[in-house]
């Protein structure tokens, strides 16, 4: 019978390792001894099989929450059906019923699907598309849902698809997704007005300006170490430039003599923030002042 040199505890007969710290026992076999009567039975194949038959484990919490969600959904659907009969056909229950079932499905997805961002995100986008189609189909004609569903597809391409790729392909995937948004403006323009007008004249140049501004931020993140405040302010600056560009290209499209109209104040904000960001980036004293450092 040996002792652990690290923990000081006495080990049972035959132990060659301390169960508390895994320190091996370095002692002659006569001191280690032979395990005569173990406290717990050794694991054998028979015991494993028996144990597997005996224990059919269930995640009771998950089961309970699923039951609760289904119960709430059933109550809501029954209430809606009763309301329909009570109001003598003046109330159409299909859209609320579809919404209730899909709302419950959002919670059930989180319980059934493997909890990864990609899987849950994909399911949520599919369910949202179905929900919007159901709402649009309430009057038995599909109108706006197609355009919204294409937007959802784009959201999936930008926000989820890159994360399904491996690490080295992710940047390329993300870049492809950003580019994929551009044709969407043209398609949307064509679907709504039958011609290509505002998409080429306003949307695409505005989008390009915002992207260039964001590209500077991406370069700074890649080669520098900006603080969270820097990143947030840079995103605000990019948004401001996007707004200013939108106004600018809109005025050009309507052949106005003004350079900028309502967005001039936004441009002032963008310029001020840009000056601050530049100083913060280049002058140590400014940086230290805002970081509350003495030196």
């Amino acid at each position: 019978m040996a002792y652990c040199v690290r923990c000081g505890v006495k080990l049972e007969e035959g132990s060659t390792i301390c169960p508390l710290c895994q320190t091996p026992v370095v002692a002659p076999p006569e001191i280690i001894g032979v395990q005569q009567d173990p406290l717990f039975p050794k694991i054998t194949d028979d015991l494993k099989k028996h144990s597997a038959d005996e224990y059919q484990r269930l995640d009771k919490t998950r089961k309970g929450v699923i039951e609760l969600v289904i119960a709430f959904m059933s109550i809501a659907v029954i209430t809606l059906i009763i309301t329909t009969f009570a109001l003598d056909g003046t109330f159409s229950p299909w859209i609320p019923i579809g919404s209730v079932i899909l709302g419950g499905s959002y919670i059930l997805v989180a319980l059934f699907v493997r909890p990864t961002f990609q899987k849950i995100g994909t399911w949520y986008i599919i369910l949202t598309a179905v929900l919007l189609t159901v709402i649009d189909f309430g009057d038995l004609i599909l109108t706006w849902s197609f355009i919204v569903n294409v937007s959802l597809l784009l959201l999936w391409i930008v926000a989820i698809f890159p994360w399904m790729l491996s690490q080295h392909l992710r940047t390329k995937g993300f870049a492809t997704a950003i580019i994929a948004i551009a044709p969407y403006f043209v398609v949307l323009d064509y679907l709504t007005s039958g011609t290509i007008g505002w998409s080429v004249a306003i949307a695409l140049p505005t989008y390009a300006v915002s992207l260039v501004s964001l590209m500077f931020l991406a370069l700074r993140i890649r080669y520098g170490k900006p603080s969270v405040t820097d990143i947030v302010l840079s995103v605000i600056v990019s948004a401001c430039w996007g707004v200013v560009a939108g106004d600018f290209f809109n005025l050009r499209a309507i052949q106005s003599s003004q350079l900028l109209s309502w967005s001039s104040s936004v441009m002032v904000v963008a310029v001020c923030l840009l000056i601050f960001l530049s100083l913060n980036m280049s002058v140590r004293r400014v940086r230290n002042y805002f970081n509350n450092r003495v030196k």
Partner: protein
């Protein structure tokens, strides 16, 4: 061990414990017990205790399971059926009957119920209902306590480290601090958790209170003879956000908290809190599908969440002379939960205390090591056994990996 004889002994003993021969059923509003006439079974012991007992298929509908190895009799209970004291009485009665069938003479003992004797009607009562007084509960909100960091893999098989300690040694050390063995062990557990929190949590502002739940057998306090569940918990602890506690400070806090908590008035308030829920019609008649998940959520947040671990000490168990000769050791394991992944249990007999740590951490043993090596440092010899298998890389999860 003769399984056939054990089964016969079980069949004899269960007649004396009719309130254990029940099965659990699911109603529209609540679960309920019904008498179970299904044939009894005995099972070979598995390598890990405290397994899940399915209420229908687990043990032919029974809520306890009798197991055996070559030299050991084990009974596993579902806590809705009984608590540690009730379980101990059943085990002692079963062992006594088995020994009797094997030709051993077993002397009489107040905790051994002999088959064929008359049952005291109080044994099957629900003492919570009997001792309920309509007192307004004045429990304050308790913040979430420190829990062992969730590093490392979890396992479905309960992993045990069993420490065998001479009661005389424990008595000597606890007497030097002028406290009881339970108070001393609780203080050591808190000190070990404080060391782990100081190692794993970097900033003191992020520290959480360290609290231990100590089940109390309230039969003696209220004068109950029930064999059904009649246990309450007292929660004692320290708040390390106020600074580091020395061991003497911890011990002082624990001693006063434990002694002030165990009195009829405070415990009556807990009984009232436990019973008030089922006496409120809105809760009582709420359908099961709503009640069950909400109760589970409340139990995790306001029950298991407010303490860091649990230690249940069944005390020193006396055995009648005929049994003392053949019983080598007595062990008791408390099932860990998903929130509190480690639980401690202690039981003493024949001059030795078995301090068992049940854990669902697959490899990490730093809590066990912190406590047991501290006992060794204080001059208490500790012998450890385990059902843990040595890890394949020969290296378990201990505190170096956390740093």
């Amino acid at each position: 061990m003769n399984p056939e004889r054990l089964l016969t002994a079980l069949e004899h003993v269960i007649e004396r414990f009719p309130y254990f021969a029940v099965s659990l059923h699911k109603g529209f509003y609540w679960y309920y017990f019904l008498p179970n006439k299904a044939p009894l079974k005995v099972y070979p012991e598995t390598s890990s205790p405290c397994g899940y007992i399915h209420r229908k298929r687990g043990a032919n509908g029974y809520l306890f399971k009798v197991r055996y190895t070559e030299r050991r009799i084990v009974v596993e209970y579902f806590h809705a059926l009984t608590d540690g004291t009730g379980g101990l009485v059943f085990l002692k009665s079963l062992v006594a009957e088995y020994l009797k069938l094997s030709g051993h003479e077993v002397g009489s003992d107040s905790q051994i119920f002999v088959p064929g004797t008359k049952m005291n009607p109080e044994e099957q009562e629900d003492s919570f209902e009997r001792f309920y007084k309509p007192i307004k509960s004045v429990f304050g909100f308790m913040s979430k306590a420190f829990h062992m960091p969730a590093h490392g893999d979890l396992t479905d098989d309960v992993q045990v480290i069993s420490a065998r300690i001479a009661i005389a040694d424990l008595k000597r050390v606890s007497a030097s601090y002028q406290v009881t063995i339970t108070e001393y062990l609780v203080a050591e557990l808190i000190a070990a958790l404080q060391r782990i929190q100081e190692t794993t949590v970097k900033r003191q502002s992020k520290y959480r209170p360290i609290r231990i739940s100590v089940p109390v057998n309230i039969r003696k306090v209220f004068g109950s003879h029930s064999m059904r569940n009649f246990t309450l918990f007292i929660v004692v602890g320290i708040d390390p956000r106020l600074g580091h506690y020395e061991f003497d400070e911890i011990l002082n806090q624990i001693m006063h908290q434990m002694r002030s908590e165990v009195n009829t008035k405070t415990l009556s308030m807990q009984v009232a809190r436990n019973v008030a829920g089922r006496r409120t019609p809105a809760i009582r008649y709420a359908p099961f599908v709503f009640k069950n998940p909400l109760m589970k959520l409340l139990s995790d947040s306001y029950g298991d969440g407010i303490y860091s671990t649990v230690i249940s000490n069944l005390g020193n168990v006396s055995l009648p002379p005929g049994m003392q000769e053949v019983v080598e050791r007595l062990d008791f394991y408390l099932s860990p939960s998903k929130v509190n992944k480690i639980s401690w249990s202690a039981i003493g007999t024949n001059g030795y205390l078995s301090l068992n740590c049940s854990s669902i951490f697959a490899a990490r043993t730093d809590f066990e090591r912190e406590l047991l090596s501290e006992l060794v440092k204080k001059g208490i010899p500790v012998e450890v056994s385990t059902n843990r298998l040595p890890s394949e890389d020969g290296n378990t999860f201990h505190e170096e990996k956390l740093r």
